[in-house]
């Protein structure tokens, strides 16, 4: 398994891309992570992670979809490669497998 290389931030970005479906570009990802996880990442951070993940072959991107609000500049839209999809699912499976063995009594969730 190679999901030991995946950090929480990277995982969140994966999940955000999946949630955003065809409109996953850096700023949208930032908003999604802020809205769902209440985590404020700078665009620079997100951009760097996207770049790394693409280099590792987990993501693919193409340019597209400009708007006036962006000053007519195009977005870079990301989607997961098969490898990426495999990875994020593996991570989730592993998590669930581990959670299964945890008794709710041991958690003091408020």
């Amino acid at each position: 398994m190679n999901y030991d290389a995946l950090s929480i931030r990277e995982e969140m970005i994966f999940l955000a891309i999946l949630a955003l479906e065809t409109d996953a570009y850096a700023y949208a990802i930032k908003q999604e992570i802020r809205a769902q996880a209440e985590l404020g990442l700078s665009l620079g951070t997100i951009h760097t992670i996207l770049y790394k993940l693409e280099n590792k072959g987990f993501l693919k991107s193409e340019l597209g979809g400009s708007s006036a609000k962006r000053g007519g500049r195009s977005k870079r839209l990301f989607h997961l490669t098969n490898k990426g999809q495999q990875l994020i699912q593996d991570v989730q499976m592993a998590r669930q497998a581990m959670w299964k063995n945890i008794s709710p009594d041991n958690l003091s969730l408020s």
Partner: protein
């Protein structure tokens, strides 16, 4: 809702990023940033929107987005240097600590002195148009001597106001020269005030005090009006809205109406008062006005000139002023040939901003400081800085053998000498920066004690001024470079081949310089320590010098004269107390000035003597244990109403052979 289309992201930031960023990314990054900018503009203030934009741009400075030809190491080297500096500090904590503490104590001293000097230089500059306000002081020439007065005659202001168009506003201030303490009564409470001053109705036209209540233009336009400061009002009434309430004071039987309450006067002014009455309520001043007196310098005259008036040209006209307007009065008082006899009244201007540091005249409103102290302190600050730099230099050079391997390796892999210099300079600046932050903490911690000692109200808040922040950063850089330059040069010039062979030896050539620096450092330190010890001894001397009377276990009761006829009863009661050895009275505190007179004796060769006079009762000499050289002191068994007691200095200056029985008379 704000219109988001009219507002664009800062051009400078866009340009910066475009220049830095590889073309592959620049379009999408700027797009994302702009989208965020417009979103933020809807929910944030304009300031924050721009601030966030800049912050995001800064966060984008990462290796992978840089243009490929920019991916040279030089962009990233500073970070590397900082990291190495940090690691060295972290690894050699003792060495680092000594360096940082040494530098920070030095910087803290400099900072403290800088804050103090800044405060001294800022005196009276908070008044509106302070650069146009001058005091008119008097250079008085007598037939046999001269004297400079801060004060001037009461007729000067109205004369200038009427006859000189250069004057925008002019006012007179008076302080009670002799009866320094005034008792103020509010209903049944009494307060002894030493900062009761008087001014005419134009005072607030010259000095822009902020009125909490009342009208500046009419606040002093009647004899029975008085202006209070905020804290005085609070002290008397527990509130500041005290307009039209009345107070009475010991110099006058009438009631005074509070016509204004102003903000407390900042410490950095040469004029302070708690109460400001009208000069019209002081009878002898009124008298002087009525008789058009040009003789006695009883008031301070402050003039505000119109914008664009050259003070020197204005001052030049004063030469005829006294002759033109004061001749009649002065002829009457001094004789019509007073000019020929050698009397002269020369008025001159003193810019109020300079009074605190540069005025050297008598009868000041308050004691001043001296510009010499400012120069001296600045020099001391500079010397302290040099010492701490030398300290840093010696410590770094002493450690250069430890860094030799690092330098050797760097040189082997191709680092230039200049780059090595940059590395070590970065390191010294980094240490200097840490020290400065620590220094600010040190200053913050000792400032309250310092204020207590010097009776100042200094605060670190002057550091918040952008100009000050910039100069402080420049200062840090300067100290870093100054103290880092020599060690950097030494370390960068180490020879890699010899170092890697393990043949590193101390560089003999540099010995004289390092020894010289150490010697200099010790010499300066010793001089300063000696100076501190001398000051300390001087202070001890002040406190312990034998004043010729017993100072121990003496209690002074001020204002006891107000007991009036009850004084004798009071005396007897106190004397009967078992813990009291004796009780005596005088017309004032010993050492204070209670007036003077000119005396002559039968010795006709000695010139007349101006001597200070104090009045004691029959008991005080015994209570204070004065040493009697000849004769006897006042004693209840004798009637001494025509006796005087003189001191050794008076005997000497009058040249008296046998002072007992000598007759004194007023000259």
């Amino acid at each position: 809702m704000k219109n988001s289309v009219t507002y664009q992201p800062p051009k400078w930031a866009i340009k910066f990023l475009t220049k830095l960023c590889d073309e592959t990314w620049v379009d999408e990054i700027l797009g994302d940033l702009e989208e965020q900018f417009h979103d933020n503009y809807r929910t944030h203030s304009r300031f924050w929107t721009i601030a966030i934009y800049y912050w995001e741009v800064i966060r984008f400075i990462r290796p992978h987005i840089l243009k490929s030809h920019n991916k040279k190491t030089s962009y990233l080297m500073p970070f590397h240097h900082l990291k190495i500096s940090y690691r060295h500090l972290n690894r050699n904590k003792v060495y680092g600590l000594i360096n940082v503490i040494g530098l920070s104590v030095g910087i803290a001293s400099v900072l403290l002195i800088a804050i103090y000097v800044q405060n001294e230089l800022s005196f009276d500059s908070f008044y509106k148009d302070s650069e146009r306000i001058h005091r008119i002081a008097l250079h008085r020439i007598y037939p046999d001597r001269t004297r400079d007065f801060a004060s001037s005659v009461i007729t000067l202001a109205p004369t200038l106001k009427e006859n000189y168009p250069e004057v925008e506003a002019i006012t007179r201030l008076h302080r009670l020269f002799f009866a320094n303490e005034v008792t103020v009564s509010i209903e049944d409470k009494e307060y002894v005030e030493s900062r009761y001053r008087f001014a005419d109705e134009d005072f607030f036209k010259v000095f822009s005090h902020q009125f909490l209540y009342g009208d500046a233009m009419t606040a002093l336009d009647a004899p029975d009006k008085v202006v209070l400061t905020e804290s005085t009002a609070l002290k008397y009434f527990g509130q500041t809205d005290v307009l039209d309430k009345t107070i009475s004071m010991s110099l006058d039987t009438s009631l005074f109406i509070i016509s204004g309450v102003i903000k407390d006067i900042p410490i950095n002014s040469h004029i302070h008062f708690d109460l400001l009455g009208s000069t019209e309520s002081v009878s002898y001043l009124e008298n002087a006005i009525r008789t058009n007196s040009w003789m006695n310098p009883w008031v301070y005259t402050y003039v505000k000139l119109h914008a664009g008036i050259d003070p020197d040209e204005f001052e030049a006209q004063f030469e005829q002023l006294v002759d033109t307007y004061g001749k009649a009065d002065l002829s009457q008082r001094l004789g019509s040939d007073y000019t020929e006899a050698g009397h002269k009244f020369e008025y001159f201007l003193q810019p109020i901003e300079d009074i605190h540091l540069q005025s050297k005249v008598d009868i000041e409103v308050e004691p001043n400081s001296d510009i010499a102290y400012i120069y001296l302190l600045s020099v001391i600050a500079f010397i302290i800085l040099i010492i701490s730099s030398i300290n840093y230099i010696n410590l770094s050079v002493a450690r250069s053998p430890v860094r030799a391997k690092e330098v050797g390796i760097r040189k082997v892999v191709g680092v230039h000498r200049a780059d090595l210099m940059v590395q070590f300079l970065t390191e010294s600046t980094f240490i200097c920066f840490i020290s400065s932050i620590l220094a600010i903490g040190i200053v913050g911690a000792i400032l309250p004690t310092f204020n207590l000692l010097l009776n100042t109200a200094l605060s670190l808040s002057i550091l918040l001024n952008p100009k000050v922040i910039l100069s402080f950063l420049a200062f840090i850089l300067g100290v870093g470079l100054l103290s880092g330059f020599y060690p950097a040069m030494i370390m960068a010039s180490l020879q890699p081949a010899r170092i890697l062979k393990g043949a590193f030896m101390h560089n003999r050539k540099g010995h004289w310089l390092r020894n010289g620096l150490t010697t200099l450092q010790f010499v300066i330190s010793m001089i300063m320590i000696a100076g501190a010890v001398i000051v300390q001894q001087q202070m001890t001397f002040f406190q312990q010098k034998n004043l010729g009377f017993d100072q121990e276990n003496i209690i002074v009761i001020r204002q006891a004269g107000r007991l009036g006829n009850n004084f004798h009863t009071f005396r007897n009661e106190v004397e009967a107390m078992p813990d009291i050895l004796g009780i005596g009275g005088a017309n004032g505190l010993l050492g204070d000035f209670h007036g003077s007179g000119v005396f002559k004796t039968s010795n006709l060769e000695a010139s007349d003597l101006r001597a200070n006079v104090a009045i004691f009762d029959d008991y005080l000499f015994d209570v204070m244990q004065f040493n009697t050289l000849e004769g006897r002191v006042f004693n209840p068994d004798f009637s001494d109403s025509l006796s005087i007691i003189i001191n050794e200095a008076t005997v000497n200056s009058l040249g008296l052979e046998d002072p007992i029985g000598e007759k004194f008379s007023h000259a």
